[in-house]
Subunit: 182 residues, 2 copies
Amino acid sequence: MITETEKRDAQLKAAQMIRAAGLMIRDDEIETIEVVDFGLGNLETEGVEVFTMVNTDRLAAKILVLFPNQTEPEHWHPQVEGDPGKQETVRHIWGDLRFYVEGPETLSRGFVVAGKEDVYTLRHEIDMSPGDQLTFEPYEKHWFQAGASGAVLYSFSTTVRDGLDGFTDPEIQRITLVNKDE
Amino acid sequence: MITETEKRDAQLKAAQMIRAAGLMIRDDEIETIEVVDFGLGNLETEGVEVFTMVNTDRLAAKILVLFPNQTEPEHWHPQVEGDPGKQETVRHIWGDLRFYVEGPETLSRGFVVAGKEDVYTLRHEIDMSPGDQLTFEPYEKHWFQAGASGAVLYSFSTTVRDGLDGFTDPEIQRITLVNKDE
Protein backbone atom coordinates (compact mmCIF):
# COMPACT_ATOMS: atom_id res chain seq x y z
CA MET A 1 0.00 0.00 0.00
CA ILE A 2 1.20 3.52 -0.82
CA THR A 3 -0.27 6.93 -0.06
CA GLU A 4 -1.48 9.48 -2.62
CA THR A 5 1.54 11.63 -1.83
CA GLU A 6 4.00 8.75 -2.29
CA LYS A 7 2.31 7.94 -5.60
CA ARG A 8 2.52 11.50 -6.90
CA ASP A 9 6.14 11.89 -5.79
CA ALA A 10 7.07 8.62 -7.50
CA GLN A 11 5.26 9.66 -10.70
CA LEU A 12 7.19 12.93 -10.85
CA LYS A 13 10.51 11.24 -10.14
CA ALA A 14 9.82 8.60 -12.81
CA ALA A 15 8.87 11.27 -15.37
CA GLN A 16 12.12 13.13 -14.66
CA MET A 17 14.09 9.93 -15.27
CA ILE A 18 12.17 9.18 -18.49
CA ARG A 19 13.05 12.66 -19.74
CA ALA A 20 16.67 12.38 -18.56
CA ALA A 21 16.83 9.24 -20.71
CA GLY A 22 15.71 11.37 -23.68
CA LEU A 23 12.31 9.73 -23.99
CA MET A 24 9.15 11.78 -24.37
CA ILE A 25 6.32 11.98 -21.89
CA ARG A 26 3.83 14.81 -21.91
CA ASP A 27 2.98 16.70 -18.73
CA ASP A 28 -0.60 15.42 -18.91
CA GLU A 29 0.63 11.83 -19.10
CA ILE A 30 2.60 11.90 -15.85
CA GLU A 31 -0.48 11.16 -13.73
CA THR A 32 -1.00 7.97 -15.75
CA ILE A 33 2.30 6.47 -14.57
CA GLU A 34 1.52 3.36 -12.55
CA VAL A 35 3.43 3.15 -9.28
CA VAL A 36 3.68 -0.51 -8.30
CA ASP A 37 4.74 -1.59 -4.81
CA PHE A 38 3.55 -5.18 -5.31
CA GLY A 39 1.63 -4.87 -2.06
CA LEU A 40 4.89 -5.08 -0.12
CA GLY A 41 4.85 -1.50 1.18
CA ASN A 42 8.50 -0.90 0.47
CA LEU A 43 8.46 0.87 -2.90
CA GLU A 44 12.07 2.08 -2.98
CA THR A 45 13.32 -1.48 -2.44
CA GLU A 46 10.85 -3.60 -4.41
CA GLY A 47 8.75 -1.84 -7.02
CA VAL A 48 8.52 -0.48 -10.54
CA GLU A 49 7.09 2.61 -12.25
CA VAL A 50 5.26 1.98 -15.52
CA PHE A 51 4.31 4.46 -18.24
CA THR A 52 1.94 2.67 -20.61
CA MET A 53 2.04 4.18 -24.11
CA VAL A 54 -0.19 1.53 -25.69
CA ASN A 55 -2.24 -1.36 -24.31
CA THR A 56 -4.78 -2.76 -26.74
CA ASP A 57 -6.40 -6.19 -26.88
CA ARG A 58 -3.38 -7.37 -28.87
CA LEU A 59 -0.21 -5.61 -27.70
CA ALA A 60 1.36 -3.25 -25.18
CA ALA A 61 4.26 -0.77 -25.32
CA LYS A 62 5.53 0.60 -22.02
CA ILE A 63 8.40 2.54 -20.52
CA LEU A 64 9.58 1.02 -17.24
CA VAL A 65 11.50 2.99 -14.64
CA LEU A 66 13.49 1.57 -11.75
CA PHE A 67 14.68 4.00 -9.10
CA PRO A 68 18.29 3.58 -7.87
CA ASN A 69 18.72 0.06 -6.46
CA GLN A 70 15.03 -0.73 -6.93
CA THR A 71 14.17 -4.35 -7.77
CA GLU A 72 11.25 -5.78 -9.74
CA PRO A 73 10.45 -9.10 -8.05
CA GLU A 74 10.82 -12.49 -9.72
CA HIS A 75 7.81 -13.29 -11.89
CA TRP A 76 6.53 -14.96 -15.04
CA HIS A 77 3.65 -14.52 -17.51
CA PRO A 78 1.32 -17.52 -17.57
CA GLN A 79 -0.99 -18.79 -20.28
CA VAL A 80 -4.55 -17.62 -19.71
CA GLU A 81 -7.92 -18.30 -21.32
CA GLY A 82 -6.68 -19.89 -24.51
CA ASP A 83 -4.12 -17.11 -25.11
CA PRO A 84 -0.61 -18.51 -25.58
CA GLY A 85 0.63 -16.17 -22.81
CA LYS A 86 2.45 -12.89 -22.75
CA GLN A 87 5.59 -12.60 -24.86
CA GLU A 88 7.73 -9.67 -23.74
CA THR A 89 10.82 -8.00 -25.20
CA VAL A 90 12.72 -5.49 -23.09
CA ARG A 91 15.14 -2.96 -24.54
CA HIS A 92 17.47 -1.15 -22.17
CA ILE A 93 17.74 2.60 -22.75
CA TRP A 94 19.41 4.39 -19.87
CA GLY A 95 21.13 3.78 -16.54
CA ASP A 96 22.39 0.68 -14.71
CA LEU A 97 20.32 -2.42 -15.27
CA ARG A 98 20.74 -6.14 -14.56
CA PHE A 99 18.40 -8.97 -15.42
CA TYR A 100 18.26 -12.33 -13.68
CA VAL A 101 17.20 -15.40 -15.64
CA GLU A 102 17.59 -19.19 -15.61
CA GLY A 103 21.21 -20.30 -15.84
CA PRO A 104 24.42 -20.77 -13.91
CA GLU A 105 24.94 -18.51 -10.88
CA THR A 106 26.80 -15.38 -12.01
CA LEU A 107 25.29 -12.76 -9.68
CA SER A 108 28.10 -10.34 -8.82
CA ARG A 109 27.13 -6.71 -9.47
CA GLY A 110 23.59 -6.93 -8.08
CA PHE A 111 22.12 -8.22 -4.86
CA VAL A 112 19.22 -10.29 -3.61
CA VAL A 113 16.82 -8.21 -1.55
CA ALA A 114 17.79 -8.69 2.11
CA GLY A 115 15.97 -11.58 3.79
CA LYS A 116 14.31 -12.62 0.52
CA GLU A 117 16.69 -15.35 -0.69
CA ASP A 118 13.81 -17.83 -0.96
CA VAL A 119 11.74 -15.74 -3.40
CA TYR A 120 14.58 -14.63 -5.69
CA THR A 121 15.60 -18.04 -6.98
CA LEU A 122 17.33 -16.95 -10.22
CA ARG A 123 20.98 -15.97 -9.88
CA HIS A 124 22.13 -15.80 -13.52
CA GLU A 125 23.00 -12.14 -14.01
CA ILE A 126 22.89 -10.34 -17.35
CA ASP A 127 24.50 -6.92 -17.22
CA MET A 128 22.61 -4.73 -19.69
CA SER A 129 24.06 -1.96 -21.88
CA PRO A 130 21.83 0.57 -23.63
CA GLY A 131 20.36 -1.12 -26.71
CA ASP A 132 20.62 -4.63 -25.24
CA GLN A 133 17.40 -6.59 -25.54
CA LEU A 134 15.95 -9.76 -24.05
CA THR A 135 12.81 -11.64 -25.08
CA PHE A 136 10.83 -13.68 -22.56
CA GLU A 137 8.44 -16.37 -23.69
CA PRO A 138 5.45 -17.28 -21.50
CA TYR A 139 6.45 -18.88 -18.18
CA GLU A 140 10.11 -17.77 -18.46
CA LYS A 141 10.92 -16.51 -14.98
CA HIS A 142 12.87 -13.28 -14.57
CA TRP A 143 13.59 -10.43 -12.19
CA PHE A 144 15.57 -7.23 -12.67
CA GLN A 145 17.29 -4.54 -10.70
CA ALA A 146 18.75 -1.07 -11.17
CA GLY A 147 22.17 0.03 -9.99
CA ALA A 148 23.05 3.34 -8.39
CA SER A 149 21.72 5.48 -11.27
CA GLY A 150 18.34 3.81 -11.65
CA ALA A 151 17.25 2.60 -15.08
CA VAL A 152 14.82 3.31 -17.91
CA LEU A 153 13.82 0.59 -20.38
CA TYR A 154 11.13 -0.28 -22.90
CA SER A 155 8.83 -3.27 -22.52
CA PHE A 156 7.07 -4.41 -25.70
CA SER A 157 4.64 -7.27 -25.26
CA THR A 158 1.52 -9.01 -26.31
CA THR A 159 -1.58 -8.04 -24.33
CA VAL A 160 -0.82 -7.41 -20.72
CA ARG A 161 -2.86 -8.91 -17.93
CA ASP A 162 -0.61 -7.92 -15.05
CA GLY A 163 -3.19 -9.10 -12.52
CA LEU A 164 -2.56 -12.65 -13.71
CA ASP A 165 1.26 -12.69 -13.54
CA GLY A 166 2.83 -15.32 -11.34
CA PHE A 167 5.27 -14.31 -8.59
CA THR A 168 7.67 -16.43 -6.58
CA ASP A 169 6.97 -14.32 -3.47
CA PRO A 170 3.56 -15.36 -2.06
CA GLU A 171 3.28 -12.02 -0.26
CA ILE A 172 2.97 -10.11 -3.55
CA GLN A 173 -0.26 -8.45 -4.68
CA ARG A 174 0.22 -7.10 -8.22
CA ILE A 175 -2.53 -4.51 -7.98
CA THR A 176 -1.24 -1.64 -5.87
CA LEU A 177 -3.63 -0.15 -3.31
CA VAL A 178 -3.42 3.60 -2.90
CA ASN A 179 -4.58 5.09 0.39
CA LYS A 180 -5.62 8.63 1.14
CA ASP A 181 -2.94 10.58 2.93
CA GLU A 182 -3.31 10.41 6.71
CA MET B 1 15.48 1.42 -56.55
CA ILE B 2 18.21 3.17 -54.55
CA THR B 3 21.99 2.86 -54.58
CA GLU B 4 24.16 1.64 -51.70
CA THR B 5 25.40 5.20 -51.20
CA GLU B 6 21.88 6.62 -51.07
CA LYS B 7 20.94 3.92 -48.58
CA ARG B 8 23.90 4.63 -46.30
CA ASP B 9 23.36 8.39 -46.45
CA ALA B 10 19.69 7.97 -45.60
CA GLN B 11 20.53 5.64 -42.71
CA LEU B 12 22.93 8.19 -41.21
CA LYS B 13 20.48 11.05 -41.65
CA ALA B 14 17.68 9.01 -40.07
CA ALA B 15 19.90 8.06 -37.12
CA GLN B 16 20.77 11.71 -36.54
CA MET B 17 17.06 12.57 -36.48
CA ILE B 18 16.28 9.70 -34.10
CA ARG B 19 18.95 11.03 -31.75
CA ALA B 20 17.82 14.64 -32.16
CA ALA B 21 14.40 13.41 -31.02
CA GLY B 22 16.08 12.05 -27.87
CA LEU B 23 15.57 8.40 -28.77
CA MET B 24 18.34 5.87 -28.49
CA ILE B 25 19.96 3.98 -31.36
CA ARG B 26 23.35 2.40 -31.05
CA ASP B 27 26.04 2.97 -33.66
CA ASP B 28 25.95 -0.71 -34.62
CA GLU B 29 22.19 -0.51 -35.20
CA ILE B 30 22.33 2.27 -37.81
CA GLU B 31 23.04 -0.16 -40.64
CA THR B 32 19.82 -2.03 -39.78
CA ILE B 33 17.66 1.01 -40.62
CA GLU B 34 15.45 0.11 -43.55
CA VAL B 35 15.37 2.75 -46.28
CA VAL B 36 12.11 2.37 -48.18
CA ASP B 37 11.53 4.08 -51.52
CA PHE B 38 8.46 1.95 -52.33
CA GLY B 39 10.03 1.16 -55.68
CA LEU B 40 9.24 4.70 -56.86
CA GLY B 41 12.86 5.90 -57.06
CA ASN B 42 12.12 9.23 -55.44
CA LEU B 43 13.05 8.65 -51.81
CA GLU B 44 13.04 12.28 -50.63
CA THR B 45 9.46 12.72 -51.88
CA GLU B 46 7.86 9.35 -51.17
CA GLY B 47 9.58 7.11 -48.68
CA VAL B 48 10.15 6.22 -45.05
CA GLU B 49 13.09 5.18 -42.87
CA VAL B 50 12.37 2.40 -40.39
CA PHE B 51 14.38 1.34 -37.34
CA THR B 52 12.96 -1.97 -36.15
CA MET B 53 13.57 -2.51 -32.43
CA VAL B 54 11.48 -5.68 -32.17
CA ASN B 55 9.73 -7.89 -34.72
CA THR B 56 8.70 -11.28 -33.38
CA ASP B 57 6.00 -13.67 -34.57
CA ARG B 58 3.54 -11.71 -32.41
CA LEU B 59 4.45 -8.02 -32.33
CA ALA B 60 6.69 -5.26 -33.68
CA ALA B 61 8.05 -2.01 -32.24
CA LYS B 62 9.62 0.44 -34.65
CA ILE B 63 10.84 4.01 -34.89
CA LEU B 64 9.78 5.67 -38.14
CA VAL B 65 11.57 8.68 -39.62
CA LEU B 66 10.25 11.00 -42.29
CA PHE B 67 12.69 13.43 -43.83
CA PRO B 68 11.45 17.03 -44.33
CA ASN B 69 8.35 16.98 -46.56
CA GLN B 70 8.68 13.23 -47.12
CA THR B 71 5.41 11.29 -47.54
CA GLU B 72 4.57 7.68 -46.74
CA PRO B 73 2.09 6.60 -49.42
CA GLU B 74 -1.51 5.63 -48.75
CA HIS B 75 -1.79 2.03 -47.58
CA TRP B 76 -3.61 -0.46 -45.37
CA HIS B 77 -2.86 -3.71 -43.56
CA PRO B 78 -4.93 -6.62 -44.85
CA GLN B 79 -5.97 -9.83 -43.14
CA VAL B 80 -3.67 -12.70 -44.08
CA GLU B 81 -3.59 -16.44 -43.49
CA GLY B 82 -6.13 -16.58 -40.70
CA ASP B 83 -4.46 -13.72 -38.80
CA PRO B 84 -6.96 -10.94 -38.03
CA GLY B 85 -4.59 -8.43 -39.70
CA LYS B 86 -2.09 -5.93 -38.42
CA GLN B 87 -3.23 -3.54 -35.73
CA GLU B 88 -0.93 -0.51 -35.49
CA THR B 89 -0.66 2.34 -33.01
CA VAL B 90 1.53 5.32 -33.88
CA ARG B 91 2.81 7.77 -31.28
CA HIS B 92 4.27 11.04 -32.48
CA ILE B 93 7.53 12.04 -30.80
CA TRP B 94 9.28 14.84 -32.63
CA GLY B 95 8.91 17.24 -35.55
CA ASP B 96 6.04 18.18 -37.87
CA LEU B 97 3.69 15.32 -38.69
CA ARG B 98 0.27 15.01 -40.32
CA PHE B 99 -1.83 11.90 -40.81
CA TYR B 100 -4.53 11.45 -43.43
CA VAL B 101 -7.46 9.15 -42.70
CA GLU B 102 -11.09 8.60 -43.72
CA GLY B 103 -13.28 11.62 -43.07
CA PRO B 104 -14.31 15.05 -44.33
CA GLU B 105 -11.72 16.93 -46.38
CA THR B 106 -9.62 19.11 -44.04
CA LEU B 107 -6.25 19.00 -45.82
CA SER B 108 -4.69 22.43 -45.34
CA ARG B 109 -1.17 22.24 -43.90
CA GLY B 110 0.01 19.32 -45.99
CA PHE B 111 -0.04 18.55 -49.69
CA VAL B 112 -0.78 15.72 -52.06
CA VAL B 113 2.33 14.58 -53.91
CA ALA B 114 2.36 16.38 -57.27
CA GLY B 115 0.61 14.47 -60.04
CA LYS B 116 -0.54 11.74 -57.63
CA GLU B 117 -4.05 12.94 -56.77
CA ASP B 118 -5.51 9.58 -57.83
CA VAL B 119 -3.46 7.50 -55.41
CA TYR B 120 -3.81 9.75 -52.36
CA THR B 121 -7.55 9.49 -51.89
CA LEU B 122 -7.76 10.43 -48.19
CA ARG B 123 -7.93 14.16 -47.44
CA HIS B 124 -8.91 14.22 -43.76
CA GLU B 125 -5.89 15.79 -42.06
CA ILE B 126 -4.89 15.16 -38.46
CA ASP B 127 -2.19 17.54 -37.28
CA MET B 128 -0.12 15.63 -34.72
CA SER B 129 1.54 17.04 -31.60
CA PRO B 130 4.20 15.08 -29.71
CA GLY B 131 2.44 12.44 -27.61
CA ASP B 132 -0.57 12.25 -29.93
CA GLN B 133 -1.45 8.69 -30.89
CA LEU B 134 -3.64 6.99 -33.50
CA THR B 135 -4.63 3.33 -33.74
CA PHE B 136 -5.37 1.71 -37.09
CA GLU B 137 -7.36 -1.49 -37.29
CA PRO B 138 -6.81 -3.86 -40.23
CA TYR B 139 -7.90 -2.37 -43.58
CA GLU B 140 -8.07 1.22 -42.24
CA LYS B 141 -6.40 3.26 -44.96
CA HIS B 142 -3.90 5.98 -44.01
CA TRP B 143 -1.00 8.02 -45.28
CA PHE B 144 1.26 10.48 -43.49
CA GLN B 145 3.63 13.31 -44.20
CA ALA B 146 6.29 15.38 -42.45
CA GLY B 147 6.51 19.15 -42.55
CA ALA B 148 9.65 21.23 -42.89
CA SER B 149 11.43 19.71 -39.87
CA GLY B 150 10.84 16.08 -40.71
CA ALA B 151 9.33 13.77 -38.08
CA VAL B 152 10.14 10.91 -35.75
CA LEU B 153 7.41 8.60 -34.44
CA TYR B 154 6.88 5.18 -32.89
CA SER B 155 4.93 2.42 -34.59
CA PHE B 156 3.73 -0.39 -32.32
CA SER B 157 1.92 -3.21 -34.04
CA THR B 158 1.06 -6.84 -34.21
CA THR B 159 3.32 -8.92 -36.45
CA VAL B 160 4.45 -7.04 -39.49
CA ARG B 161 4.28 -8.50 -42.95
CA ASP B 162 5.11 -5.34 -44.88
CA GLY B 163 5.36 -7.29 -48.10
CA LEU B 164 1.62 -7.92 -47.87
CA ASP B 165 0.43 -4.36 -47.25
CA GLY B 166 -2.01 -2.92 -49.72
CA PHE B 167 -1.24 0.37 -51.51
CA THR B 168 -3.51 2.64 -53.48
CA ASP B 169 -0.67 3.38 -55.92
CA PRO B 170 -0.28 0.36 -58.27
CA GLU B 171 3.29 1.45 -59.04
CA ILE B 172 4.44 0.68 -55.50
CA GLN B 173 6.73 -2.22 -54.62
CA ARG B 174 7.08 -2.43 -50.85
CA ILE B 175 10.39 -4.29 -50.91
CA THR B 176 13.11 -1.81 -51.80
CA LEU B 177 15.78 -2.93 -54.25
CA VAL B 178 19.28 -1.71 -53.54
CA ASN B 179 21.73 -1.48 -56.43
CA LYS B 180 25.48 -1.34 -56.34
CA ASP B 181 26.81 2.14 -56.89
CA GLU B 182 27.55 2.88 -60.52
